[in-house]
């Protein structure tokens, strides 16, 4: 098993290296190796995951260990049910993205570096989900940050792509400091960096409640940055200039899912720390509503989807905060499926209308793109929580868990739990509204000039859509039986019966009423986006961080140029001056030189005579 696991981790990196080496010489071979390598990794991941699903015992293995001072840093891996489902999600989405990119970026000159970065991205996420040592996890975590930077900046000739990439990198990197310090705190406290050891100690150690608030909050900060939660939520929508398959990868499987995964992986630490849980609940409540409002008024299809990701991630954090681990992971998996479907579908829409992401240039695409229409309808339905689709079941589980916590839970402060529940219900309504709006704007109404000649793309771009539509449609079965995935320890009642069904149906009805009323009110003139006052967190960052740093940099520059450089310049300038003085002696008169020699000799003689 351990050999298989190592092979699965190594295959993406190896195929990335090979693609980089030969991709520019032979485009066909490069693409073949990229897709083939990912297919191999997918098969290996399926084997590894299949071994650990259900009530199987987790596998842990240490390959190497340091023998230096302090707790050892180990190349250790640990695969349990959570790792298994994450591996499946990551590799399925990544494989489909590789296949999809064959069509989407067919004529891209930077295809080799693109596909090898996707492979590295996948490998890094696999590293994160299987790592048992916190430092190994950190390596994968940072590798993902770097890969997302490069991939968002894939079209680096666009200034907004460069800016988005830098923003994503800086914001997630800043938040990553939380993970770094959290790791140090945990290692100091427990004398080990192994996640399984530390979590075992926490579970069985009968620690005082809330004694782990510091590492929990630090880990939460890292997760908030990676998963684009308030107040670090602005990087994700600004990362949209990247290629659409990359958005699918980042939003569904790798980057943002890592934040939720980190919390799920270190969950005993969070259940110990009620203050971190309360913070998480508050952040989730605020983020999901805010992001849904932005999604409501955004004109750009990809931005709508990006904000919906932020909002859905907040659902997951909300579920984690109210103690429903299973609901959160289920929603993560379901979201991975339908958000990958939505982004890939959006990619084929954008491809069909010639590259524009604005919903003004779409419309009436229902008949032109029938495959995309059907699959994206399923995706939007799942996002909105329409009844038989997977999103309904998982969102229902999350909302039900938060209501239970608000009624009689002790995990978070009661009023925060109630706020979370209210925000979840409100956001579910908004989600229906913005999904409906985007769906209508893209597929109905009068086609825009750019959409007149739209055609369905190649099969490589349609097949992933249908494949992803399968879990989107039938994934609800798994939600009813979570023990199939997670073993008997997680046999929770995720379907919350009458109450949640009533709430969810009510929510959907209200959402439809809102959307229809809005449609009637602006007939003929389609739902034009209206400016929404954004909470200006970017301005706050600008004032609090960017400008002081800029000023400090200016001061440093001044000091370097004027003070340190001044000394150097003065030294350099004084040398010719001094030389000019000395040159006066070199006047060409031989007799003057001799005079100096004679006087010197006499002086030496006199001095010698005086001393003896």
């Amino acid at each position: 098993m351990s050999v298989l696991l190592l092979a699965m981790l190594a295959v993406p990196f190896a195929s990335a290296a090979v693609v980089l080496l030969i991709g520019h010489r032979s485009a066909g071979a490069g693409k073949g190796i990229a897709v083939g390598g990912e297919a191999l990794a997918l098969v290996l991941a399926c084997v590894v995951a299949g071994w650990h699903l259900g009530s199987a015992a987790p596998t842990g293995h240490v390959y190497a260990s340091t023998a230096a001072v302090g707790p050892p840093i180990q190349l250790a891996f640990y695969v349990d049910q959570l790792s298994a489902v994450m591996l499946l999600l990551v590799h399925v989405v990544s494989f489909l993205v590789q296949v999809y990119s064959l069509g989407y970026l067919e004529h891209d000159p930077r295809y080799p570096s693109y596909s090898s970065l996707v492979a590295v991205f996948t490998g890094a996420m696999s590293l994160v989900v299987t790592a048992d040592d916190l430092w190994v996890l950190l390596v994968g975590w940072e590798l993902m940050g770097a890969c997302s930077y490069f991939l968002i900046a894939h079209h680096w000739e666009l200034p907004e792509a460069r800016a988005g990439a830098v923003k994503a990198f800086l914001m997630t990197r800043t938040a990553d400091l939380g993970l770094l310090f959290g790791i140090l705190v945990l290692g100091n406290r427990f004398g080990s960096y192994r996640i399984s050891t530390v979590m075992g100690d926490i579970t069985h150690g009968a620690l005082q409640l809330d004694s782990l608030w510091l590492p929990a909050l630090l880990f939460l900060a890292a997760a908030v940055g990676k998963s684009a939660q308030f107040p670090l939520h602005t990087w994700l929508p600004d990362a949209m200039p990247g290629p659409t398959p990359i958005s699918a990868l980042i939003h569904a499987a790798t980057m943002v899912a890592a934040g939720v995964f980190l919390v799920a992986r270190t969950y005993p630490m969070f259940t110990n720390s009620t203050s971190a849980m309360t913070w998480m609940a508050g952040i989730a409540a605020l983020t999901m509503f805010l992001a849904a409002v932005y999604a409501m008024f955004s004109k750009d299809l990809k931005r709508v989807l990006a904000w919906s990701t932020v909002s859905q991630l907040a659902y997951m954090f909300g579920a984690l905060a109210v103690g429903s681990w299973t609901a959160a992971v289920m929603h993560l998996l379901a979201h991975g499926a339908f958000k990958a479907l939505l982004f890939l579908g959006a990619g084929s829409v954008i491809h069909a209308v010639g590259g524009s992401t604005s919903m003004d240039s779409m419309g009436g695409l229902r008949s032109r793109l029938p495959d995309t229409f059907v699959t994206m309808t399923l995706g939007f339905g799942a996002l909105a929580g329409v009844v038989p689709l997977v999103g309904f079941f998982t969102k229902d589980a999350v909302i039900g868990a938060s209501l239970r916590e608000a009624l009689d839970g002790r995990q978070v402060w009661t009023w925060v739990a109630w706020a979370l529940f209210a925000s979840m219900v409100l956001t579910a309504m908004l989600t229906v509204a913005y999904c409906l709006r985007a769906w209508l704007l893209v597929f109905f109404g009068d086609p825009a000039p750019a959409a007149e000649a739209a055609e369905e793309p190649a099969w490589t771009m349609r097949a992933p859509l249908y494949l992803l539509a399968v879990p989107t449609t039938f994934g609800g079965i798994l939600v009813a039986y979570p023990e199939l995935l997670f073993g008997s320890a997680h046999r929770e009642e995720l379907f919350h019966g009458v109450l949640s069904t009533v709430v969810t149906v009510l929510v959907i009805l209200v959402g439809i009423v809102v959307a229809v009323a809005w449609a009637r009110r602006r007939e003929g003139d389609l739902w034009r986006p209206r400016p929404v006052p954004h909470p200006e967190v970017d301005v706050a960052y600008d004032v609090a961080v960017v400008r002081p740093v800029g000023r400090l940099a200016a001061l440093t520059r001044f000091y370097d140029r004027e003070v340190i450089g001044g000394w150097v310049d003065a030294a350099a300038g004084s040398a010719p001056g001094l030389g000019r003085v000395l040159r006066l002696a070199q006047n060409g008169n031989v007799q003057a030189y001799l005079m100096v020699v004679v006087v010197g000799a006499v002086a030496v003689a006199v001095a010698a005579g005086a001393r003896s």
């Binding site: 070199q586 060409g588 008169n589 007799q591 001799l594 005079m595 004679v598």
Partner: protein
């Protein structure tokens, strides 16, 4: 004869020579100053040779060497002076400043 007589004579001659070297402008007179200094040294050599009663008379032999070398030196030096006169039209030492350190090389050096 007491030792200080020749020593005094040598000192006087040497001083006159130094004066000639440092103060005269004519190159030939400068050379004459150099000869005076050399011969002052010769007087010293001979005087000490006699005073110390050296069996091998190394002082006198050394003086002979100095005379020979001085003859050679003055021959070379007068040749230089002659060339200087031919190129510059004068032999005034303090006007020969072509080797001074300046920002630009003077006309005569460039030529």
């Amino acid at each position: 004869m007491p030792l200080w007589w020749p020593l005094l004579l040598a000192a006087l001659l040497f001083s006159i020579g130094v004066y000639g070297v440092l103060a005269r402008r004519n190159a030939v007179l400068v050379l004459m100053g150099v000869e005076l200094m050399l011969n002052a040294a010769n007087i010293n050599l001979v005087a000490f040779d006699a005073y110390l009663r050296d069996a091998l008379h190394s002082g006198q032999i050394f003086a002979l060497f100095v005379i020979v070398i001085a003859a050679a030196e003055i021959g070379l030096a007068l040749a230089i002076v002659l060339l200087v006169f031919r190129t510059h039209g004068h032999i005034e030492v303090d006007r020969l400043r072509a080797l001074a350190d300046r920002d630009e090389a003077p006309e005569e050096v460039r030529r």
